[in-house]
């Protein structure tokens, strides 16, 4: 008999991928066990300074999630823990774990850092003898660029925020004497007797997100890493840029701690070579980012910053524009793979030889060289593969099903770099997709293992005197580096009704939340102001803290002293400090008048609407149906399948036709899915949990009700105007070529000695469409290989700007080169030209390596056309009320961490409508959207927006002005009372009606006129 399924999941790895899955699943009613081998979670993202292409502070967007995980009642964290054994089957696994000793009692430790300060190891600066027993320990988090004590906190925002002892470095463990930390610890948390623990947990499913290892460049002797002090890795440079890094955010070089005036980056170190024939996908962009940030940090001091590269792979949303911006800001890109670095032993400067125009060797001297190291599979990949019985591919990464890209096998899912090198958003997408797979597998046992919500009774504050607390955040050096936070803190204390003020290193960290709660209780605060970064990302976090302290979360006000003061007035420290005071005074003034708010609960309609019947839409529909909910699919064409119908074969040999037919069959035969073909969206009303949508099916209008929307409306192939397309039959697009290869037998027979010339970036990366269409290189190489496969004697030229075969697609590029496909790079300013002479096509192109204009006779000219947004994209975005980019692709809530969400709750995004992408990427994004939608659908109620507008019926004259203005159709007219009435669910709190009401009858909760006037008065010292 089969055992009962278990409503819990094991997540291996606490990086951003594991964290996303944990939060998704815990929110959907699955108990989460997160296993991390390091002392804290956060992964590599915690080590990054900024993220591309938005230059968001990495820690600032990560920290709220770290905190959420730390405080989530249904996420149990095992750090310093390894998996020993896995038994069982999908739905029911028994996993044996081993927890290594931390030597600190996690229950007692408060993370105060007293132990860290007294540890004598931290005070050793240098060791005289090589074999000394007591040595300063290298800080792993700063990748050996700094030292740390033997007892330490992994990094300031780490979760759990607890100390850990490094046995190898600890004087007590090495010599038997010391125990200084034990004496210093106020909580009595140090436990030298700590032993490893072995225990079992039962889970229904497993998600593997163990991340990656970075390539160790010391094996490439010619680069001198480990020999020359000023050759560092890109991750080390990331730490140098970070305010929590080894030099406090100052860009210095290791040998003499001087500011480098000339920095070089070398790309593809450990990537794109015969031993690792794949592209690490992220290095081009992180190098670009690090270059931009270094310039920002150093200003005029940094004279030169060069990036040595082969192809710039800026293939995702906003990347091409970011790359262009870097060039404008003076980052210099040099197209050459440089294999060796020489050091001037006197100055410790480094010399790089490279090939300039006309293949002429030149050399340049630098103060610092950064190696852009590639991504390797995790060190314990073989161990993981054996224990979980999953396959690894030729490069040692986890092998997954191409058409189900997070599935290693039934019950075991993979996200992040473990299955292929990838960027943060793709990792997050995969993590949510893995969540969706788990939700499907465990749909019947959802909610069985979670703790009931802890209800902290709310303190009634009516009649209490105002007691305001102000917390001023250092934000590392982001704020404290500019603003005198101590002065600001003291100033805040002088404001009326402020009974407490203090500073916090990172107000968003877990220990800070505990501290705030403590103070609220201790000082009986009834209003709280946090002066920190921005309410945009961090307000919910602090509101939650208030809630946990028994205070209504709306008695909170944010003072943005980072965004409004320290960042914008970086070079005017005095004035910035004064401005911070103003901003805080304003916040205090407002919070004085804030009232407790109580959002209403709205029941959730557990049905989904999927817009688009292409592969993304169909996958999403099937996923949601498998999770157990009903789905409506709306497709504008007569047939399902979208763009995939035009695809006959894939570069990796998989059969897209078979997949599509099976998918359509599964969707069509699923009783939970209802399909509307030739249907168009008419109107969308309502909000998350409760949408009412009108669609026009042929000529009939239908109304459907549903709780979520998945937008998978796709995109289209660009129809070129360039290169004589349409005038000659010999000129066609890649998709048309594929059609010919697949269906035109005459064409195939006649391939011998025919010459194909392919031109890349047609309709992409130009002024009109300044983005990379991501898939055209892969498409061109796929077709070129197909031609060569059919007839080796056919010649194929690919004229390109950069070949962007990221990830494992690189091997097809290699294969194409091996098969004799000729690749010629052209400069964007010297595009190829096509001429027809005597019925023959001639393509002219300037070869930059040879410095020669070339002429090729082409039998066929194939244009690699880009992907453009659908014509109706704008209309859909207006109907559903979500933003759209200049290029016509839909704009997600956050490029890094919320890649399938819209800013509008309840609407999710998948497929080409988001940005050009490959088939497997569309599938996984559709699964992710389903996973995210599953969170809402799994709930019976969702809470409405609290900051809504209310009508004072006494004052309302019934003039109707507001009704016509409301963008959300939330206001109706009460014929009986002759007043306006606002629907609480639909109101988004935008304030349009408030401003427009001639009789001042509408007020917005906690944004009342009296509050705003008070704020203005305070900020102007009136």
């Amino acid at each position: 008999m089969k055992e009962e399924k278990i409503g819990s999941v094991l997540i291996l790895g606490g990086g951003i991928g594991g964290m996303q899955s944990a939060l998704d699943l815990a929110a959907s009613g699955i108990k989460v066990y997160m296993v991390e081998k390091k002392p804290g979670i956060g992964g590599v993202m915690a080590m990054l300074d900024k993220t591309f292409p938005t230059n968001d502070c990495s820690m600032c967007i990560l920290a709220p999630r770290l905190v959420e995980i730390a405080r989530h009642k249904d996420i149990e964290l095992f750090t310093l823990t390894d998996v020993l054994e896995v038994k069982g089957e999908p739905g029911n696994y028994r996993v044996t774990l081993r927890k290594r000793p931390r030597y600190v009692n996690i229950e007692l430790c408060t993370g105060c850092g007293e132990c860290v300060r007294v540890c004598p190891v931290g005070k050793i600066k240098e060791v005289k003898k090589e074999d000394a027993k007591v040595k300063p320990a290298l800080d792993e988090f700063n990748l050996g660029l700094s030292t740390r004590p033997a007892i330490y906190i992994f990094y300031p925002q780490t979760v759990p925020n607890k100390a850990v002892i490094d046995r190898e470095a600890c004087i007590y463990f090495q010599t038997g004497k010391c125990r200084a930390c034990e004496k210093a610890c106020p909580a009595g948390a140090i436990n030298f007797e700590d032993k490893e623990e072995i225990f079992d947990i039962n889970v229904g499913a497993i998600i593997l997100a163990p991340g990656y290892e970075i390539f160790d460049p010391s094996v490439k002797e010619d680069l001198g890493y480990g020999k020359y002090p000023n050759v560092i890795t890109s991750l080390q440079f990331e730490r140098i840029l970070s305010p929590t890094g080894p030099y406090g955010g100052k860009v210095l070089r290791p040998s003499d701690k001087k500011e480098p005036e000339r920095i070089a980056f070398i790309q593809c170190v450990g990537s794109r070579e015969i031993q690792r024939d794949y592209c690490s996908s992220v290095c081009c962009m992180y190098a670009t980012k690090e270059a931009i940030i270094a310039k920002e940090h150093m200003g005029e001091t940094l004279k030169e910053i060069d990036i040595y590269f082969m192809d710039v792979r800026a293939f995702s949303k906003g990347f091409e524009q970011y790359f262009e911006r870097a060039k404008e800001e003076g980052v210099n890109y040099i197209r050459c793979r440089t294999p060796k670095i020489l050091e001037d032993p006197k100055t410790k400067n480094l010399i790089i030889e490279y090939l300039a125009e006309g293949d002429r060797k030149k050399s340049k001297e630098y103060d610092l060289v950064v190696l852009s190291v590639g991504l390797l599979p995790p060190q314990d990949n073989k161990d993981i593969s054996e224990k979980f019985k999953i396959k690894l591919n030729e490069f040692g990464f986890a092998e997954v099903d191409f058409f189900d890209p997070v599935k290693a096998k039934e019950g075991i899912y993979v996200s992040g770099v473990f299955s292929e090198p990838k960027d943060i958003p793709e990792t997050v997408i995969q993590a949510s997709a893995a969540s969706s797979k788990v939700l499907t597998l465990l749909s019947r046992v959802k909610g069985t293992l979670i703790k009931p919500e802890e209800f902290v009774p709310e303190r009634k504050i009516e009649g209490e005197e105002l007691r305001i607390g102000v917390f001023v955040c250092h934000c590392g050096t982001n704020i404290a580096g500019v603003i005198d936070v101590q002065e600001v803190k003291s100033y805040a204390k002088t404001l009326k009704d402020v009974v407490h003020s203090e500073t916090l290193l990172y107000a968003c960290s877990q220990d800070a939340q505990e501290r705030i709660k403590e103070v609220i209780k201790e000082k009986k605060l009834n209003r709280v102001v946090v002066a920190a970064c921005t309410p945009r990302t961090h307000e919910p976090l602090f509101q939650n803290t208030l809630k946990e302290a028994g205070l209504n979360p709306f008695l909170f006000e944010f003072a943005s002293i980072r965004e409004h003061a320290s960042w914008v007035h970086m070079f005017e420290k005095k004035k910035a400090t004064e401005k911070a005071k103003d901003v805080i005074r304003r916040a205090v003034a407002k919070v004085r008048l804030s009232e407790p708010l109580y959002p209403s609960k709205i029941p959730v309609n557990k049905k989904a609407l999927v817009l688009g019947g292409g592969v993304s839409g169909l996958v999403a529909a099937l996923e949601i149906a498998n999770q157990g909910y009903e789905v409506y699919v709306v497709e504008k064409e007569k047939e399902l399948g979208g763009n995939l119908r035009k695809i006959h074969y894939l570069i990796n040999g998989e059969d897209p036709k078979k997949f599509l037919n099976e998918l359509i069959n599964k969707v069509s035969s699923n009783p939970k899915i209802k399909i509307f073909k030739e249907a168009r969206l008419e109107t969308v009303e309502g909000s998350a949990g409760n949408f009412k949508t009108k669609i026009r099916v042929k000529n009939e209008i239908m109304e459907i009700e549903h709780g979520v929307i998945i937008v998978a409306t796709g995109a289209t192939e660009y129809k070129p105007k360039e290169y004589g397309y349409g005038r000659s039959k010999k000129v066609m697009t890649q998709i048309e070529l594929q059609e010919k290869i697949s269906n035109d037998k005459e064409f195939i027979k006649d391939l011998k000695d025919k010459t194909f010339v392919m031109i890349q970036c047609v309709g992409s990366r130009d002024e009109e469409r300044p983005y990379c269409s991501r898939i055209c290189c892969i498409q061109a190489i796929g077709n070129a290989l197909k031609i060569k496969e059919i007839n080796e004697d056919a010649e194929v030229y690919v004229l390109y700007r950069d070949i962007r075969t990221y990830g494992f697609k690189e091997k097809y590029y290699t294969k194409a080169r091996q098969k004799g496909v000729k690749f010629i790079r052209f400069n964007e300013n010297k595009k190829p030209e096509v001429k027809e002479e005597n019925g023959k096509l001639f393509v002219s192109v300037f070869d930059e390596i040879l410095n020669l204009p070339l002429k090729i006779q082409a039998d066929y000219l194939i244009l690699s056309t880009g992907i453009v947004a659908n014509e109706d994209a704008k209309e859909i975005s207006q109907l559903c009320k979500f933003p759209i980019t200049k290029e016509g692709f839909f704009l997600e809530a956050h490029m890094k961490l919320r890649p399938v969400d819209f800013a509008t709750d309840g609407i999710f995004l998948a497929g080409l409508a988001h940005f050009p992408k490959t088939l497997d990427e569309s599938i996984v994004q559709a699964q992710a959207a389903s996973g995210r939608a599953g969170i809402i659908l799994s709930k019976d109620y969702i809470e409405s927006e609290p900051y809504i507008a209310v009508v004072d019926e006494e004052k309302c004259s019934g003039c109707h002005v507001c009704i016509g203005l409301c963008p959300y159709y939330a206001i109706s007219f009460d014929e009986e009372k002759k007043v306006a009435r606002i629907n609480e669910v639909l109101c988004k709190g935008c304030g349009v009606c408030v401003g427009a009401c001639p009789s001042k009858a509408i007020k917005q909760k906690n944004f009342r006129d009296d509050q705003i006037f008070e704020e203005i008065k305070e900020i102007l010292y009136v």
């Binding site: 050459c336 293949d359 690749f823 070869d847």
Partner: protein
Amino acid sequence: MEVFSNPKILREIKRYGKFDVKGCYNCGTCTIMCNISKEFAPFPRRPFQYALLGLEKNLLGSLEAFLCHDCGDCSIACPREAEPRLSMATLRRYLISKYDVTKVASKILSSKLVGILSYFIVFILSLVLIFLYHKLKIGLSASDFFGTSMPIEHTLPEGGFRILYGYALFIILFPILILLIGVIRMGYFSFKGEKIPFYYGFVALYEIIINLFTQKEMIKCKRTENKIRYIFHLGMAIGCLLMLIIVLFLLRWKIYTNLTQRILGYLATIGMLFGSLYIIIERIRKKGGEIYKESEWQDFPLPILIFLISLSGILVHIFRNLNLEMLSHYTNALHVAFVTSFLLIELPFGKLAHLIYRPFALYFYKIKEIYYKKMEVKS
């Protein structure tokens, strides 16, 4: 002027050996790692690109292939293990064939069977000629040639000297003529369209002599195995040249005393014998570093012939001194046959052609370099 890309050229090049670019993505690593790549004639990447894209005329005019000294620094560093060294060697064979107006080199270098057969046929033919010469002119039982420098001369009948000398002159002058035409063609392709004044040719003339006798370029190749290789290669090359001078001039006109002749002869023999033996062993052993890791059949006739020539030569000398008349006679016949095969096939049509093409390539390059530098200064 636009250059026409003919994709079929690559197929032709591949007939001369490995030109397996193994996914080369034009990264430039090979050229950077090469210590002897020239400012105005960078390699291996540039000639590679010519070959890949089938730019025949540019390829014929490119000196790069002969500027390369085959050390393999490029192959070690190549991130795609595309073995640029082997491809450069193939390019040299292609060019030797292209510069040869008789088209014989093309047949020999592109086919192992034709190649090896032609060495054998010439070898057998020359044995037959020697046999016929003895049979018809002087009789097979020659005797008493002890103490003379050349065993055959001693018994020369009337006119015999002229026949012999004519034979020697033919096997020497034929390859020189072929190679001279080749060099002229090389220069023609290389200088076509350039406006370099004629006198630059005199300014750079020293380059040929220096390179012919010092092979100084080879010392610049980075890895240590190249230094050992340099010594043996130089020993072999100087040995050959020295022996050529001894045989052609010294023995005939007795400019030097016997002793000097002997010492010079011994030195040349040592250079040839050990140089060639070292190369043969390393090529078979495949462990002497990148240069010897992989060889093609065209690499073998040269060291094998030199080894056989020097071995047979010294054996004749020894046998003669030991009064082993007939044995030295027969050995000498073999010696002459080896030399004939060496001079008629290997030198004009085989790998040895680089002996002439390389110094001339360096010389032509020098002319260009001086000119280009001057032009750059001007502009």
